[in-house]
Every structure is written in structure tokens, then in C-alpha cells.
């Protein structure tokens, strides 16, 4: 195992993050506060309670998930796309480092950044509403697994993308809608029955539901299914990445 190599990548990726620390810190604080003003106060004043939970608190897990997922994807996809774009990937390809180590460095850094943002949002939200955490370990586990698996997905997107437009395409066209329709801001039991069944094909539903369970001990789908979904998604991403490196797809001509 080339640990020096993994660390070199990890540090290099994190360096960009430290350089823009204020920005990395301020933007989630600001956007969370805005969400609270819009959803929590304006809409929340009419909805008040969902499944016996104050609406302001109810949306927090969804808000965190939304950021952890999108940030995980964009950090990892930019992280690996940049060397391809700049040509600095030559060094990665000629170094005595295998694909597990490369993934560990890039995905580890991307997941760290998105976790950091998730924690900042959690902290900001706690300033606005009372936030019980029923299962703290489950909460941590869900957050870590989600940031990791979405960073893995971002890594795949970064390797697949041939332009900056393509890089933005998947997060914009696929992930954001899935998260919004995945019950980030409502309980799927609030939907008409037909939509409830359709929604169950949305994988994000299981993640948000499970994550919300770790706070309020109440979920749309059983917690075991949620855990299975996130584990399955992580494994799928790992398999795709293994295939990419074995065939050299879009990295080695």
C-alpha cells in the first residue's frame, strides 16, 4: 500500500479547500439560513407539524442530505476532472500507485469536505430549531456512508465527463431532482397513493428516510432497507470504478 501517495493526493485536494475556507464555511451557513427563512418560517407557519414533528426540524435531515450529496459529487468530480483537463493526470498514471489508492485519496478528500459542510449545516440548523437526535451513531453512519458513496459517484462522473458542461449535467439533471422528489422537504405519506408507489423507485428516498429516522425515530421506509440501499449503492459505485481502472476507460488511451 502506497500510503505516502494516498496522503499526497488527500493533502493536495484538501489544500484547495483550506485556501477557500471562509467560502466553504460561509456558503452552507448562508444557504441553510435562507432555507429556514423560506421553508421553516413562510411554509412552516402553515404546515406546522409533519408526523408529529415540527416542520422546521423535519426538513433538517433533508437539507443536510441535499448538501452532502451534491457537494460530495461536485468535489470528487472536479477533483479528478481537473487533472484530466490540465493534463497533470500523467503523473498519477505513471506513479507506483494503484486505483484503490487513487480513489482513496480523491474520494476521501471529497467526502471529508462534504461531511464538513453537513456538520456546518447541522450546527446552523440547531441555532434555529430544537433538534433531537434519537440515534446519534446511526446519524453519523448515514452521513459518512452518504458522503462516501456520492463522492464515489462524483469520481465516476469526473472520469466520464469530457467537458465542464457534462460535469454539471448529472448533478443538475439527475441528483437535484431526485433529492427534491425524495422527500427532503415532505413525508412521502403526504403524497397521493399512486405517487407514493412511484416515489419508492427513487433511491434517494431510502437515504433521506433512514437519515431522518436517526433524528426522530420515525421513517417512511424500514431502516434496514435504507441501510441496504446505501450499502448497495456504494458497492455499485466501487464495481464501476474497478471496471474503469481495469479497462483504462477514458483515462488511459
Amino acid at each position: 500500500m502506497n500510503w505516502h501517495g494516498v496522503l499526497a493526493i488527500y493533502r493536495f485536494e484538501m489544500a484547495r479547500f483550506w485556501r477557500t475556507l471562509m467560502q466553504s464555511f460561509l456558503s452552507p451557513v448562508l444557504s441553510t439560513s435562507l432555507y429556514f427563512v423560506v421553508f421553516g418560517s413562510a411554509i412552516g407557519s402553515r404546515i406546522e407539524e409533519v408526523e408529529g414533528i415540527q416542520y422546521g426540524a423535519f426538513i433538517v435531515p433533508g437539507l443536510i442530505m441535499l448538501s452532502v450529496m451534491t457537494q460530495g459529487i461536485s468535489n470528487a468530480s472536479f477533483g479528478i476532472y481537473f487533472p484530466k483537463f490540465l493534463g497533470t493526470i500523467y503523473e498519477l498514471l505513471s506513479a507506483p500507485i494503484d486505483h484503490r489508492e487513487i480513489v482513496l485519496g480523491y474520494v476521501g478528500a471529497a467526502a471529508t469536505k462534504s461531511l464538513f459542510i453537513g456538520v456546518v449545516i447541522l450546527g446552523t440548523a440547531a441555532l434555529f430549531v430544537d433538534l433531537p437526535v434519537a440515534h446519534p451513531w446511526a446519524m453519523i453512519l448515514f452521513m459518512v456512508l452518504t458522503s462516501l458513496s456520492f463522492a464515489l459517484m462524483g469520481f465516476i462522473i469526473g472520469i466520464w465527463a469530457r467537458s465542464f458542461e457534462q460535469l454539471q449535467l448529472v448533478p443538475l439533471l439527475v441528483v437535484t431532482p431526485l433529492v427534491f422528489l425524495g422527500g427532503a422537504f415532505y413525508s412521502i405519506s403526504m403524497l397521493p397513493p399512486i405517487w407514493q408507489s412511484i416515489t419508492l423507485f427513487n433511491p434517494v428516498v431510502y437515504l433521506i428516510s433512514g437519515f431522518r429516522w436517526s433524528f426522530f425515530d420515525a421513517a417512511d421506509v424500514p431502516i434496514a432497507i435504507s441501510l441496504g440501499a446505501i450499502a448497495g449503492f456504494t458497492i455499485l459505485c466501487l464495481v464501476v470504478i474497478a471496471w474503469i481502472f481495469r479497462t483504462g476507460w477514458r483515462i488511459r488511451s
Binding site: N2, W3, H4, G5, L7, A8, I9, R11, F12, A15, F82, L86, G87, T88, Y90, E91, L92, L93, S94, A95, P96, I97, D98, G248, R252, S253
Partner: protein, 321 residues
Amino acid sequence: MSAILSVQNLRKAYENGFEALKRVNLEINEGEILALLGPNGAGKTTLISTICGITLPTEGTITVGGFDTQSDFRAARNLIGLVPQEINLEPFEKVINTVRFSRGLFGKPRNDALIEEILKKLSLWDKRDARINELSGGMKRRVLIAKALSHEPKVLFLDEPTAGVDVELRKDMWDVVAELKATGVTIILTTHYIEEAEAIADRIGVIRRGEILLVEDKERLMAQMGQKELEVQLSAPITEIPASLATFELRLNDAGDAVIYSYDTQGARTGITTLLNAISEAGLVLTDVQTRQSSLEEIFVGLVHEAETDNKETGNKETAA
């Protein structure tokens, strides 16, 4: 001396079907400097990229230090340093950080003393805290060299290391290469400056259209392929060469006051004595003679050109296919 790098039957076809390397065989001895010459698009960068793992070989095997570059890639790549032809660097990163990064990436523990030594040797120490995008082109190229040296390679590939580097620094770079050779590093470099190959290489390889035309000891190549010329100054200009001298295939210079005779240095008899006798018999008076050896550049151009005409037909077939 044993081979530290061995390339056997290497073939490389790109995804679009273009065959950039056709059955390349190459052995490089430990501690030598090999200069790879060839026109644009000959396959020099492709050969280096395939050895270093940036592109995958289509067929054939490559070993570095006895390790297969595919099945034993870690051990093989541990020995290799690469300075690419293109200047590929993170624009906003500090010089010293990119160099440290390279060392870490190759699995080596941090060593600031070594990095300092390398940056000083390449006249980059003053620029260590500058961002890459604040450097000139020649400085960037030296950063690439520093990155490659940072992990102490045993085999160093330099793909046109002195392109865009000024004359003085080019000489400095030759010194760096000579120093590396003295510490036992094997160096493979490509260049379009033939005087560079002439100045620092031990052996010369010529590649054209994906095929190695020859690999030869520099001295021997220059002696073997080299033509010598004898220039005979005449006391008065002439308009045409006397018929009696036709067998010597002389050339008249532009001013008409000197005849030039080309002869093979390998030949048993150079024919100089007979020529000089024939000249005085023809009634010409000579005032001076001088000899000149053809340079590597002329040899190279001759070689590539020769292969060009030899392969005209195969070349046509290639384009038709």
C-alpha cells in the same frame, strides 16, 4: 553493462486504429544516455508514454529493472521518472508544493533537504513560493524536471526537456544531465536539437513512423555514417571542372575558386593523393586544402530521408488503408 530497460515487440495502436508503434525492440543499458531522434509524429512520445504507463501497450512486453511494467507495475514505476513534453501543471499551486506532491505520490517520505537541493540545482529555489502561473515557460519546464527528480528515479525520461529553454539554461541542463549520469541514473531523452544529442548522448536511436531505424553508439555512428569533405582552394577561379577529374565527382563552390571532394571515412583508400595529383596534372594551382566532417544533423537528415524514399510504397498503402 546490463539492460535496465527492455522493450520487446512493442506495438501500439490508438483507439482510432492508428498504429503509432510497430514492433519496437529496444534495450537500454544501465547508466547510459540515449537520445531518441525522429521527426514530428514519429512515435517518440508514444513510446515513452507506453513505457511509463500513461498509455496501454497493444502488444509486447516492457521491463524496467527486470520488472514487467504491467504485472509488476509498482516495482517498475518506482524506478522511473518522467518529464513530459507538454507543460502540464496545476496553475495555482506553489512550486515547492507541487514538487513535494510528486515525491509523496511516488511513495517516498518527505525530504525537504533533497527538494531544496533539486530546486537550487535547477535555479528554482528563489521561485519556490511562487505560483506556477507566475512562472515563465522555461521555468515551468524546469518545475517538471524538479518533480521528476523529487522521487529519485533510476531511469529518467526527458521528452524534449530543452524545448523553449534559453541557450545558457540549456547548457546548465546538460550539466544536470551529466551529474545525474555520474550518479548512475539512466537517461532517455528526445530532442529536435541535434547538437544536444551530439553533446550529451552515449547512444543515438532514430525512430520514424513507429519504427526504430537504428540504435547506435554515437561515436561509431558518426564515424560510420559520416562523410568527410575535402575542400581544395584554387589560385584562380574556374567555370567548370576539367573532364580529366570527372571520376572524382567534384563539386565546384559558388565562387568557382574551390572544388569539394566527398569521401567515405571508412573506405580503405580515400583517394586524396590521386585527386591532388590529378588536379595539378589538369594544370590547376592549389593554394589551400581543408577537411570537414559531416555533423550528426546531416547524418540524421540523410537517414530519415533515405527511409522516406525506401518506404514510399508502404507509406502509400498506409494512407490508402
